[in-house]
Symmetry: C2
Subunit: 518 residues, 2 copies
């Protein structure tokens, strides 16, 4: 990543910006001390990093303050980098693509503005974490379930706007969004869909207004700063069943994937199965609670994974009879597969969180930190990761060659990675967390090189990553080459129209205005 023309903002202007923003936000809203700003760097870049460097951090607490921050930035020509909570460590946390950005962090905008139990939705500010909404639902005794990613500390808005996934019925978080409020680069304030009508009761109930729908325009982009987001929630089911389809032999993945595909296509399986690959390490797999001393990296990693060479977590939610019938259909569909076992657990929908097995918290939509805790216990505090996350067709053949490619490159680079797919109706979303020791620059470099090589291979197959680390965004965007990169060129035209000076998150997903092309 080269530093783009005009992007390095000089110290005098930044000083002036800090002064102006202090006047707008007060001392609580501006973080400048290095120890405070440190949290908004890429957590895995190491201490001597020279790229993805924020200058300082502002934390407005109201929409009006966001508008003023944007106006000050526009006036002074400094650039902002928006983050909600900034917890996507594998994708750089709050770190900006271009050095010198003022991080516009929205953690203090953490109000839950509305929860409608009957209509199944919430309206939240971008700083609301999965934990926060869950606690509020429980506090009010509402019969609503959420969809949460593997770690609950992140922001609902931040995750959804980055096309993140959870696992329950509304696990495709971008699709669960219904209505946004957005501050544009000139400080104007727009509400999408039915939100364009003052006081409409439909903003979070109906996804489209009159005219084009713009929710998805403000996802994975830098066209505005989202200050409110509607999100659909599912009603508490009568019964919840979750568990594993376990497949023990290396050669059976294609069959497992091909057996699951029609169950996703016809909606028998609800939400998004997480399918993990966990090669049997030399010396065998340790038990869940084993001491990790003397283990290989592969063994330690396996300790964090569910059993089986292949493990597909599947879930069913709803009316008890419907759930039982879905479960029966799944069992029939995989019964013919060699070496496959099905291990499901059933819960009443009103089960208390502390009676849910730790492995079942996520498919139950209960935010938690179990995965990180396990990984820290086995792998230590200094483990970083960079993720390779391609989308691929939902076929056994594609899945098998994807995994073979990743494992080959890992072996060649002497690395290990957590490997999983999130299943959607017609695609698999791969998530390979390539691990490295943050204090070992050589290993970190090898991890980045490995992910880059994986991208090369995926590109040849016509696949794309669904999201990427700041160091990878330009090259992933460059893969969209149809008709002389017509789609990236269209993104640039839209950026020119909405933010010609590139005030907002320049470089996000490779998008910059013409004035900031490198």
């Amino acid at each position: 990543m080269s530093v783009h023309a005009g992007v390095m903002t000089d110290g005098t202007v930044l000083s002036k910006a800090r002064e102006r923003l202090l006047a707008v936000l007060g001392p609580d809203g501006v973080l400048t001390a290095p120890e405070e700003v440190a949290e908004f760097h890429d957590p895995y870049e190491g201490k001597d990093a020279t790229r993805f460097q924020p200058s300082f951090v502002v934390q407005p607490s109201t929409v009006e303050e966001v508008r003023q921050v944007v106006r000050v930035a526009a006036e002074l020509g400094v650039h902002l980098w928006t983050s909600s909570t900034g917890r996507n460590f594998g994708y750089g946390g709050s770190a900006p693509v271009d050095n010198g950005a003022i991080v516009l962090n929205l953690r203090r905008m953490n109000r839950i503005l509305e929860i409608d139990e009957k209509a199944g939705y919430a309206l939240v500010e971008p700083g609301v974490r999965f934990f926060d909404l869950y606690e509020e639902i429980k506090r009010r005794g509402l019969k609503l379930w959420m969809s949460v990613p593997d770690l609950g500390w992140g922001s609902l808005a931040g995750n959804a706007l980055e096309h993140g996934y959870g696992y329950t019925v509304h696990g495709d978080h971008a699709s669960a969004v219904c209505g946004l409020e957005v501050v544009l680069a000139d400080g104007d304030l727009v509400r999408t869909g039915m939100g364009g009508i003052d006081g409409s009761p439909l903003w979070q109930r109906h996804k489209r207004g009159f005219g084009p729908s713009l929710d998805s325009l403000f996802m994975q982009s830098n066209f505005g700063v989202v200050t409110k987001m509607g999100v659909w929630l599912m009603p508490q089911p009568e019964t919840f069943v979750t568990g594993s389809v376990v497949c023990h032999r290396d050669e059976d993945v294609a069959g497992l994937i091909d057996a699951l595909a029609p169950l996703m296509l016809d909606g028998t399986i609800q939400g998004h199965p997480l399918i993990t690959s966990s090669p049997e390490p030399a010396g065998g797999r340790p038990g869940f609670a084993d001491d990790t001393v003397g283990m290989s990296a592969q063994q330690k990693l396996c300790a964090a994974f569910p059993p089986g060479r292949w493990n597909a977590r599947v879930s069913f939610y709803g009316d008890t009879q419907v759930v039982r019938a879905r479960e029966a259909a799944l069992r029939r569909a995989v019964a013919h597969l060699p070496g496959v076992t099905v291990d499901l657990r059933s819960y009443p929908g009103d089960v208390p969180a502390d009676e849910v097995h730790p492995h079942d918290l996520v498919p139950a939509g209960i935010p938690n930190m179990f995965l990180l805790d396990v990984m820290k216990r086995h792998l230590g505090d200094r483990i970083g990761h960079i993720d390779f996350s391609p989308v691929l067709p939902f076929t056994g053949e594609d899945a098998a060659r994807h995994e073979a490619m990743v494992q080959r490159i890992l072996a060649e680079e002497g690395l290990v990675a957590g490997f999983a797919w999130i299943a959607t109706s017609r695609s698999l979303v791969g998530v390979s967390m390539v691990l490295f020791d943050v204090d070992d620059p050589e290993q970190a470099e090898a991890a980045r090189r490995a992910v880059s090589r994986m991208c090369d291979e995926a590109e040849r197959w016509g696949w794309s990553e669904y999201r990427a680390h700041p160091s990878m965004v330009d090259r992933v965007a460059a893969g969209y080459g149809f008709n002389d990169c017509a789609l990236p060129r269209l993104y640039r035209r839209l950026k020119d129209a909405l933010d010609p000076a590139g005030i907002l998150s320049p470089g996000n997903h490779g998008i910059r205005p013409s004035a900031r092309q490198g």
Copy 2:
């Protein structure tokens, strides 16, 4: 609707455009004779209409021809009005909002480019009709089901791009779109999502690429001309159950709606129920096949409607056991409602079309013309309609006041209307077809006045129409008043960026570039 500044294109320029377009498309691609162009007028405007007047019609048959048409239009400063098949008669057919438009009609682009049975999708050109895709699926013996609107003669793309609805699992047609190819106003050609990657196998399998998703930007807008569209299809179910929840008393609608809402929210009922209101006419309701001589308009209309004061058509698709469990859940949920009967029919998924009851064709995804045939038989050939189609919250209270308002205005204006709601998970989409005699200008005027009055009332409740007749688009758009009409202003900014001269369908959904503001 006033004629906007600069929009009336003078005869000399149109002559020149005709000449240039003839050179591009040949004589088969340009219709200029009044009897040929007649079909592209609003079919219900009457013979002496002076508004919504096309100049002539072009029908390209390839993407390259569309690009050339757009370039010629841009060069000469004439404006186009895009239509696919132009069959939405209640919304004006192919008639342009601004007089003098050259209709860019895409009927000749009618190739089915791909159908993938395993992945459940098709890639079609905009002239492909519901009939065409159905016939091709049957011809190839593919186990796929479609979603179709009430009449099968329209275009899949035209319907989806206008936010149209069908009734099966993918009945929210805009949501079933996966990937577009679009010609921009300068002739550039873009593919959205994974289509931005040359030859990607993911274009129709995964809804998002890397960066913002633009599919919905090209729906209900005039930002481009869609030349290819991906659409998701459902696998042929093992069992298909459909039929009616019938409610016989006037006062029970709120209870019926409130009983159905949670079943839609939790997905027990699949697809989109059609809930019809059919007030018992004075003199009683005729039988389905009765001669209509001497009947009141209300009686004639009732003959085209299913039985009951309220009738909710519900459907279930899939694995037989799952379908039976869903059906049982529905029956339990409405069992307590007074005066309610449930009448369901079950079919095997491979049932031949000629063994499906005519009322069940649409929920079976089989395109047909049954509704129009029935209406013509009972109401004659000269009946036109203008539709009032608000979105409202899915509550019994809102539904009841909606219907009461419509029936009151109809009575005051001496009109009748077909009245229905299409149910979505959290909203109802009202469709009132207000009927009038095309040859009776006074009645036609009354119908337009009635719809205008209905819009006034809906606006006070914060509702919006989900689509509208050309005569209504500006006033519906004007209802989006939040922050000094921030959303319509944003649409204009996007239009300025993509089509500053307003070559493409100016006025569509109220969207015009700054240069064409009236």
